[in-house]
Symmetry: C2
Subunit: 348 residues, 2 copies
C-alpha cells in the first residue's frame, strides 16, 4: 500500500466496512504493517480447523487494506495445533500468518496471531470459586489457560489474589511460550505446589489432559465460552486407554508411527521399538488418520507422534493405537500400573 493510498482512507481502526467476526482479535493492523514493511506480494493465512470458515472474510478485509498486487493464500492443510504449521505455504509466501496458536517454530516471516478471545472470563471464574477450597483453609491454587486468554493471564492472577488465593504459576518448559500456558501435549506449567488447579478456557480437551498428567490435583474448569463450570473427570478417558492396551496385548504385527510434523518427531523412541521387536514396522506420515492406516495389515499401532491423536481419536481407528508408554505395557515390558499420560517436552 503506497503512502498515498494509506492516507486516502485508512479503515484499519474504524471497524467500518470490515467483514470479519469480532469474537476474536485477528490483529489485522499488525498483519498489514508487516505486509507493507516487507513489500509482500504473497501472503499465506493459516487458520485452526474451527475458524477456517472465517478465513475468506479475514482475507477480504486484508485485501481491502492492501495494494491490489497482494495475493492471499489460505492454507487448506488440517490445523489443530502449533505442530500443524503449514511449512510448504510458509516457504512459498513473503509473509505467513498462523492464527490461534503460539509459536512452535520461529522464523522472520511468520506472524503468530494468538486470536485473543473477546469473552469476559470473570463471571464464570466467580462461579468456579464454589469448586475451589475456601482460601482461608487452602489458599494455594494453580492457574493455567490457553493462548486465547493469555492476554488476561496476569489480570486473572490478580483477580484470584484479591479473593484471598495464593496463585501458583509457572512457565513450564521450552515447549511453552507463556507463563501459565498449557498445550494439548504439555502441562509442565501445572507442575506447581498446589493440589488444585483452575483452568480458564473453552472445552475439556486441555483440562482432561491436565488431569491425566496430574492425577493428584483437583482440576476445576471455568469455561467462559460455553459458560459452564465442571471438574475434570478422567475416568472414561482412563477406561478407554486400559481397553486399548488390553486389546493390543494379542497383537503380533505392530505399526510404529513416526510423525513427520514439526515438533512431533520422536525418532529415538520409534527406532528403539523396531530394534527390539522384529514384528514392528516403521511407518512415516504427516497426518495420522484412520484412512491412512487401514491399508496397512497391522494388528496394532504405536504412535510416537501427537499423543492426543492416540488418546482422543483412538476409538476412530480400526485397530488399537497406543502411546509409546502404553506399548511397553502391552508387550509386557512394564506393569499395567505404569500407565500414564503421554506428553511432549522441549521443542522440535
Amino acid at each position: 500500500m503506497s503512502q498515498d493510498a494509506y492516507s486516502e482512507g485508512d479503515l484499519r481502526n474504524t471497524g467500518m466496512s470490515l467483514r470479519h467476526d469480532r469474537e476474536w482479535d485477528y490483529e489485522l493492523d499488525r498483519i498489514i504493517d508487516e505486509i507493507e514493511e516487507r513489500d509482500a506480494t504473497k501472503v499465506g493465512l493459516q487458520f485452526p480447523e474451527g475458524l477456517k470458515r472465517r478465513g475468506p472474510a479475514v482475507a477480504d478485509d486484508l485485501r481491502e487494506l492492501c495494494d491490489d498486487d497482494v495475493t492471499f493464500l489460505l492454507s487448506g492443510q488440517p490445523c489443530y495445533g502449533a505442530c500443524d504449521l503449514d511449512t510448504y505455504l510458509m516457504r512459498r509466501t513473503d509473509v505467513f500468518v498462523h492464527f490461534g496458536h503460539s509459536p512452535m517454530k520461529e522464523s522472520d516471516k511468520i506472524i503468530y496471531v494468538p486470536l485473543f478471545s473477546n469473552v469476559d472470563p470473570y463471571p464464570i471464574m466467580e462461579e468456579s470459586l464454589e469448586e475451589l477450597d475456601d482460601p482461608d483453609e487452602n489458599p494455594d491454587v494453580g492457574l493455567v489457560t490457553t493462548a486465547q486468554h493469555m492476554n488476561l493471564f496476569e489480570d486473572m492472577c490478580e483477580w484470584l489474589e484479591e479473593r484471598g488465593y495464593e496463585v501458583h504459576t509457572r512457565r513450564g518448559d521450552d515447549r511453552l511460550t507463556h507463563e501459565g500456558q498449557v498445550l494439548g501435549c504439555n502441562y509442565a506449567s501445572a507442575d506447581i505446589d498446589a493440589d488444585q488447579v483452575l483452568y480458564v478456557g473453552g472445552g475439556k480437551f486441555h483440562p482432561l489432559g491436565l488431569a491425566m498428567e496430574h492425577p493428584d490435583k483437583n482440576v476445576v474448569i471455568a469455561d467462559p465460552v460455553n459458560n459452564v463450570v465442571t471438574i475434570a473427570d478422567t475416568e472414561k478417558f482412563l477406561k478407554q486407554r486400559y481397553g486399548a492396551v488390553h486389546r493390543a496385548m494379542d497383537a503380533d504385527k505392530w505399526g510404529v508411527i513416526f510423525c513427520t510434523k514439526i515438533g512431533q518427531g520422536r525418532w529415538e523412541i520409534a527406532e528403539k521399538i523396531i530394534e527390539e521387536n522384529d514384528n514392528a514396522y516403521l511407518i512415516t506420515m504427516d497426518e495420522v488418520t484412520p484412512d491412512r492406516l487401514r491399508n496397512f495389515n497391522m494388528d496394532a499401532f504405536v504412535n510416537t507422534g501427537c499423543p492426543r491423536i492416540t488418546t482422543d481419536d483412538g476409538p476412530r481407528f480400526h485397530k488399537p493405537m497406543l502411546t509409546p508408554g502404553e506399548y511397553e505395557i502391552a508387550v509386557g515390558n512394564k506393569p499395567l500400573e505404569d500407565l500414564e499420560f503421554d506428553t511432549f517436552h522441549g521443542t522440535w
Copy 2:
C-alpha cells in the same frame, strides 16, 4: 551387506524363504544392489494404496538380505500415482524406493520399481479381438497400457501385428516415460491415427479417461487382471460432470484449490481465476479430501490439481467441484458444449 555375508548365503534368486507375494515383480535384487552400493542405512519404501498391505513382507525380505544396520521406513502417505511421491521421506533416506509408478521426479537416490505384473495378457487380448474391427477392413489400431505391463508392450504390438493389425503407438509428451503409456491425467500416447484403441490393463480408471479425452475413438478394454473385455462408456461419467457444472452455476463463493504436490501445480490457472473473480479464494493443500474442504464456507470449488480427484471423487465432496475448464462454463465464460476432459501435460 559385507561381501562375506553376501557369499555365505545369497537367497536373492532362489525364491526360498522370501515372504513377499509373487503377483508383482518387486525387483528386490535391484534394490539390494543399490543399498549396498550406497552403504545406505535408511531406506524408504513407498507403495501404492492397494499394495500397502504387502509392504511389511517386502520389508521383511529386504531385511533378510541386508546388513542389520539398515532401517526400513514405510511411507504412510496416501499414494495413488506418481505425483504422490513422498518427498519428505525421500529427503530423509539414503535410498528411496517408489513402487508402482513411473518417474515423475528424477533423483539419484530414488529407485522407481514399476511392479511389472506376472499376469499373461494374451488370452484376454485374444478375446478382445472380437470388439476390434476386422483387420482386413480396418487394420489401424492404437495400443496403450500402464506401467504394470510396459515390459510386454513391444511383445503385445508384435502379437497384434501377427494378427494383421497395423499398430499405432506414440510416446506422448514429457509427462509420459514410455511409448504407449497412459496416466490417469494424460492420454497423449493415444494421439494416433486410428479410430480404435486397445487398452490392456486392470480396471476402468485409465480407459475411461482415455475415452473422455478421445471421444471420437472406440476404446476397447482388455483387462487381464479381472479377465474381462469391455468397451469404455463415458455416458455416466459425462452426466455426472454436466450435473456438477449445473449445480455450480449458482455459486457465489468459490474455493480455488492449488495442489502443492509435485507435478500438480498450475499456478497461472489458479491466479487467473482469483484475479478475475473477487469471490474466489485461493486454498492450498497437498491431499484434496472432502474433510479438508468441509470447513471452508464455499459454494463450489475449482480444482487446479489432479483432474481425477475432481471427476472421479467429485460426488464425495459436499459442494460441486469442477475442473478449470468446467469452471469457465459454470461462470458463463464458455458455452456448455466446450466441456472437455481435463488433462495434465509436461512435467512439474
